[in-house]
């Protein structure tokens, strides 16, 4: 099974290395890992999708929590979340097929962001299922190149407000 963990980490050099090193040495299997800035200047946020077939998610979570720059970890797998994955897909496309492709992509709320003689770049954002759906359709036309960001996630609505209060308490603890 796949679990999605959200970690808030201190924005310091080498933090990603510490997380990657932990996953390597404990043989935890990362499906995807994204990292980026947050609303707080010195805090980054990681969304980690981990395969928990071999090691339970709570052990991955507890090990992450032991890294000093990791401030907190939330397993959002069973929470209501908004999750998004962004893909750029270069797909074969003759000039005569562009209009048809554009309308196909439109169904997935994607768009064509670059046009070359025999190919276009499609951009699509959505949950993984939606992106996978478009990728499957484009594959038959011939995908030349693809990059995906991996999943980012945020807890929905009032659950998130409760969680945010929790974060506030945790980070207020000083030593």
């Amino acid at each position: 099974m796949k679990h999605t963990l959200v970690a808030r980490v201190a924005d310091q050099p080498g933090v990603l290395n510490r997380v990657a090193s932990l996953f390597r040495r404990r043989a935890f299997n990362i499906e995807s890992l994204t990292v980026g800035h947050t609303e707080t200047g010195d805090v980054s946020r990681m969304t980690i999708v981990v395969d928990t077939a071999r090691v339970p998610a709570h052990i991955v979570e507890a090990n992450l929590r032991k890294l000093i720059p990791v401030m907190d970890v939330t397993d959002v797998t069973h929470l209501a979340t908004v999750d998004r994955d962004l893909a750029l897909i270069r797909v074969k496309c003759a000039p005569a097929e562009r209009a048809e492709l554009a309308s196909l992509v439109e169904i997935f709320r994607g768009r064509i962001v670059d046009v070359a003689r025999e190919s276009v770049i499609v951009e699509v954002t959505g949950d993984e299922q939606k992106v996978n759906g478009l990728v499957d359709l484009l594959r038959v036309r011939g995908i030349v190149e693809m990059v995906r960001t991996g999943k980012v996630a945020m807890v929905r609505g009032s659950t998130a407000e409760d969680a945010a209060i929790g974060h506030g308490t945790a980070s207020a603890a000083t030593h």
């Binding site: 980490v9 201190a10 080498g14 290395n17 510490r18 090193s21 040495r25 339970p56 709570h58 052990i59 507890a62 090990n63 929590r65 032991k66 890294l67 000093i68 720059p69 990791v70 401030m71 945790a170 980070s171 603890a173 000083t174 030593h175």
Partner: protein
């Protein structure tokens, strides 16, 4: 006040209460060594940085205080790594300070440059590279706070040479801001209630006591819990001393070389109370058949240990002392007479196989040496062992009554640990009688520290148990590799002459009647003293659970094994 980075290192160490550091100078750490002369901290010059790391570790294990080692960049730092990994696996609070090349040449393969924070990342609780003198005081303070907090462990601060040389306004940070540090929480009321309920229902309860008992200072609290609930206790190797061995409910060590009756008790128990231990593979054997009838309660500070090896029914992620203090009044006073009688029956059966009750036919057996050492020291010494057969015989035949009296490398199993760790232990507890117990193999790995011992004039006694083999490996070859003794027969120097070369008095013992008198002579001699015990060449540690086997499927010492041992 303005201070150089080098001075700040020592200002911080003094503030942390450090009275001794173990180290070796070199180019990149030279400014810090220069500043050292102006501060009231004793420096022990080692002969190899691995020794410095083990000394800091031994200091920490003997006292509970943070041990500190210091080394230069490159080879100085890489030599520390075996000792850092040893401290990591056994959760020993230690701080390592290393010099690094100037920040301007970082990453250029400068002379004696190594990526020390990179190398030590997986073997420290935390580490940091300091390139700017203004970060130094906070970084060192954090290193101490992290090393001590929660489940303790090693931290490392790598300090660029220019950061040691530059000056800044020094202010020691009383508090640090570490939002990511996991602080122990008190046990939850509903978990305590559930634990009390399971304990009340149990008919065959058993306690697995680990190093956490000693680390959390829960020795007395455990004693009170045991006496109230009438629960028998088994100890892990690192838990020895956490519960008095002479107590009627103390059964001794569990696991691979634990007594058969201890492992039988675990396999028949209906409730296991795991207190500050981590179900290491040396303790459990085959996980599929481990304690099949038992519900399991795990009290452990480190949440990442819960469910790692053994599925448990109830986990209390909390400090053991706090948990026991809360739990003991909640459980009814009990006596488990039928259960204890069953264990005693197993114990009597084991008694007949015990090597102590077998005739050695005039030969000197290592187990007898350990037993006689225990007798001659009144059981009161701090024993620091190396790794191998002698280590297991020590665990079996030197009963420990008090915490921090056995210092041994359990998790990493680091040969060469004993002599330097004993030097550290003696520095931490000068009043204690400290004995090294080492094999001929491990002792030669760090025997250069005899010079350190002599230079520091420390009263450390040394027992080298010499069987002419890498004994434990030879035992595995005997049992599992058809007695093909690949690379285990070992030539050793004349240890008495070797000690003499360092100016250390020494004596060789080849017969049992000479053991106690020689130990007494060593004890009566001020300063260091080495005894070489020339013991039976081929002898095995019994009983033994082969790695990964069922805990109840032990290889037992044959009833008259001593007579079968080859001359």
């Amino acid at each position: 006040m303005q201070r150089t980075g080098a001075q700040i290192v020592w200002e911080c160490l003094v503030k942390e209460g450090v009275d001794v550091v173990f180290g070796y100078p070199g180019g990149a750490i030279l400014p810090t060594y220069d500043a050292m002369l102006d501060y009231p901290v004793r420096h022990v010059l080692v002969r190899h940085e691995q020794g410095a790391a083990h000394m800091a570790d031994g200091y920490a294990r003997a006292s509970g205080r943070v041990g500190v080692a210091i080394a230069t960049s490159g080879p100085g730092a890489t030599n520390l790594t075996t000792g850092i990994a040893t401290a990591m696996l056994d959760s020993s609070p230690t701080v390592f300070i290393t010099g690094q090349v100037p920040s301007k040449v970082l990453g250029t393969d400068a002379f004696q440059e190594t990526d020390v924070t990179g190398i030590t990342l997986p073997i420290t609780k935390h580490n940091a590279l300091v390139t700017d003198v203004r970060q130094l005081a906070t970084t060192i303070r954090e290193a101490f706070v992290i090393a001590r907090s929660g489940r303790p462990g090693p931290t490392l601060v790598d300090v660029c040479k220019d950061a040691q040389q530059a000056s800044t306004e020094f202010r020691w940070p009383e508090t640090v801001d570490l939002p990511g540090l996991v602080e122990p929480e008190p046990p939850h009321a509903q978990d305590l209630a559930r634990a009390a309920e399971l304990i009340e229902k149990a008919e065959r309860p058993f306690i697995l006591a680990g190093a956490g008992v000693i680390r959390s200072g829960a020795t007395q609290a455990l004693l009170e819990f045991v006496e109230r609930t009438g629960t028998p206790v088994g100890l892990t190797l690192l838990g020895l001393g956490g519960f008095p061995r002479s107590h009627p409910l103390c059964l001794g060590m569990m696991g691979m070389h634990g007594e058969a009756y201890v492992n039988s008790a675990i396999q028949h128990a209906d409730l296991l109370l795991a207190f500050g231990m981590r179900f290491d593979d040396r303790v459990t054997g085959n996980l599929k058949t481990y304690a099949p009838h038992a519900k399991k309660i795990h009290v452990e500070l480190d949440a990442s240990e819960i469910g790692k090896n053994v599925r448990v029914d109830l986990a209390l992620v909390a400090d053991l002392l706090a948990t026991l203090k809360a739990l003991t009044p909640m459980v009814p006073a009990k006596r488990h007479e039928a259960w204890i009688a069953q264990i005693d029956a197993w114990r009597r059966e084991t008694h007949s196989r015990d090597i102590l009750h077998q005739d050695a036919n005039g030969r000197l057996l290592a187990a007898h040496v350990i037993h006689d050492l225990w007798k001659a020291t009144g059981g009161g010494a701090v024993v620091v062992t190396d790794v191998g057969q002698h280590q297991m015989w020590e665990a079996q035949y030197y009963p420990h009554e008090r915490p921090r009296t056995l210092i041994t490398s359990g998790g990493l199993g680091t040969m060469g640990f004993a002599l330097p760790a004993a030097i550290g232990a003696k520095m931490a507890r000068p009043e204690a009688e400290v004995w090294v117990v080492a094999g001929d193999g491990g002792f030669q790995m760090t025997q250069c520290e005899l010079a350190t011992l002599q230079q520091e004039q420390l009263d450390v006694k040394i027992a080298v148990v010499n069987n002419g083999y890498l004994g434990m490996v030879r035992q595995w070859q005997e049992f599992f590799h058809d007695k093909r003794y690949a690379a285990t027969p070992m030539l050793s120097p004349d240890f008495v002459a070797l000690a003499g070369a360092y100016g250390i008095p020494a004596h060789k013992v080849t017969a049992r009647p000479d053991v106690v008198p020689t130990v007494e002579r060593a004890r009566a001699t001020p300063g260091p003293f080495l005894i070489e015990f020339q013991v039976q060449k081929e002898d095995a540690v019994y009983p033994m659970v082969p790695a990964g086997s069922d805990l109840h499927a032990m290889i037992r010492r044959p009833a008259e094994a001593a007579t079968e041992v080859k001359a």
